[in-house]
């Protein structure tokens, strides 16, 4: 579901993107907007997972695209997607610093943003083939996962979101985070360990989910 980010799988900029980047570098906003259209959901999703606040995520996303357009002359990399997501993640860390604390979020608000605020939405989060009990459970698990993500240190959160939520390969994550591959590997592993601990502490949702999951296997 989340493992189909736009751009090529390796994150390498394809020919179309190269052409759009070249035109953007000449000041063609229309060409840049085609890149925006291609990546705006990915950028917004990263900001939302990082910040847990739909409004702040939208602001950060818009700001990141402005920054990207202003800095596009400097883009020489192999992956526009990695370059853009690095700008987005830097903007998220700027928000952390501005808040001077790790962000907390209204999980209800976050869930609303996921479901469009529809009271009957939990069922829409999952395949229609799922039974209602499981559909409700899924919505609750989603909220629990968001809550757990927001408790992670920023670098671990970013690494695990890029890896597990957005499905990016380690080398691209390393480019986005400007970190060695080994550091990325370590952050993802530690993030998963922390998430497991946090989720295990939260009611019995996770264990119920686990039981159901294992019964599926």
């Amino acid at each position: 579901m989340a493992h189909d980010p736009p751009g090529s799988g390796s994150g390498q900029t394809d020919d179309l993107e190269l052409a759009l980047v070249a035109r953007s570098q000449k000041g063609d906003v229309g060409a840049f907007n085609m890149l925006v259209e291609r990546y705006q959901s990915l950028a917004y999703a990263l900001a939302l997972r990082m910040l847990g606040d739909p409004d702040a995520a939208a602001d950060v996303t818009q700001d990141a695209f402005f920054s990207a357009f202003r800095a596009i002359q400097a883009f020489r990399g192999a992956s526009f997607r990695a370059w853009l997501l690095r700008i987005v993640s830097n903007a998220c860390f700027d928000v952390f610093r501005a808040r001077s604390r790790q962000p907390t979020s209204s999980l209800d608000e976050l869930l609303d943003s996921e479901t469009g605020g529809d009271a009957a939405a939990p069922a829409t989060l999952v395949d229609s083939s799922w039974d209602p009990e499981r559909a409700v459970l899924r919505a609750e698990v989603i909220v629990a996962i968001h809550g757990a993500l927001l408790q992670l240190p920023g670098d671990q959160r970013l690494a695990v979101i890029l890896s597990d939520v957005q499905g990016l390969p380690y080398d691209e994550i390393a480019r986005i985070m400007d970190s060695p591959l080994g550091t990325v590997k370590s952050r993802i592993a530690r993030a998963r360990g922390h998430l497991r601990t946090i989720l295990a502490r939260q009611s019995e949702l996770f264990s119920r989910g686990e039981r159901q999951h294992s019964s599926d296997e």
């Binding site: 579901m1 939208a58 402005f66 700027d94």
Partner: protein, 237 residues
Amino acid sequence: MGSRRHPTDWERQREQLSAYIDGELSAAERAELERHIPGCAECQAALGKLRRVHDLLAALPMPKAPRSFALPLDLRPDARPLAAAAPPRRPAPHRGGATVLQWVGAIAATVGMFLLLGGVVTGLLSSNSKLYETPSRSGGSTLTGAQTQTTPSQRTPDLVTTKSPQKDGATATVTETPTATNTPKASVTNTTTPTGTNGEPGFPILPVTGAGLLALGAGLYIAGRAGRRREGRASDG
């Protein structure tokens, strides 16, 4: 957990298991792990937990962008972001009082405003008195206020004293007022107000208004420049 089998490097073992899930191990590392896991209950359990978290995160729905983030087509590459685009990252406003330049600008603008108002009000009063006086100079009891300032040219010294506190422009007024005493009443009101022509005796509306306008403009400009410079410094810092 794994203290016997992996006494010194459990963290590293977990990293290997985690990377194994993502297919990020080299062929040699993967082969080694796959040989090890079947005989190690701890690694099997750890692998299951890591995979569970991975699967949960991977199952999260991808939120859609709530709106288009396309940039305005007339945007220039060197343009600054829209104000609405960057509220979360605005640097904290620079604290402290206004700069000297801002004070100078503000004072100049205030003085200019007074002069300008003085000139305009005087002009208006003159024109009003003219309008109402011309048809019936004897009547107009309700316009006494206006009349006291404009019609009796002998009273211009009063007018000078009332206007002179208005700072520097007053110097010009003082020098000109004596001539006003010698001029006929009608000519004062008729010539000065409507056209604002110069050289006429009485309150020097045009110079005062002009000076006021100049001072106001200069003051606002100076204050504005100083303010922008401060903003620039704050955002750079």
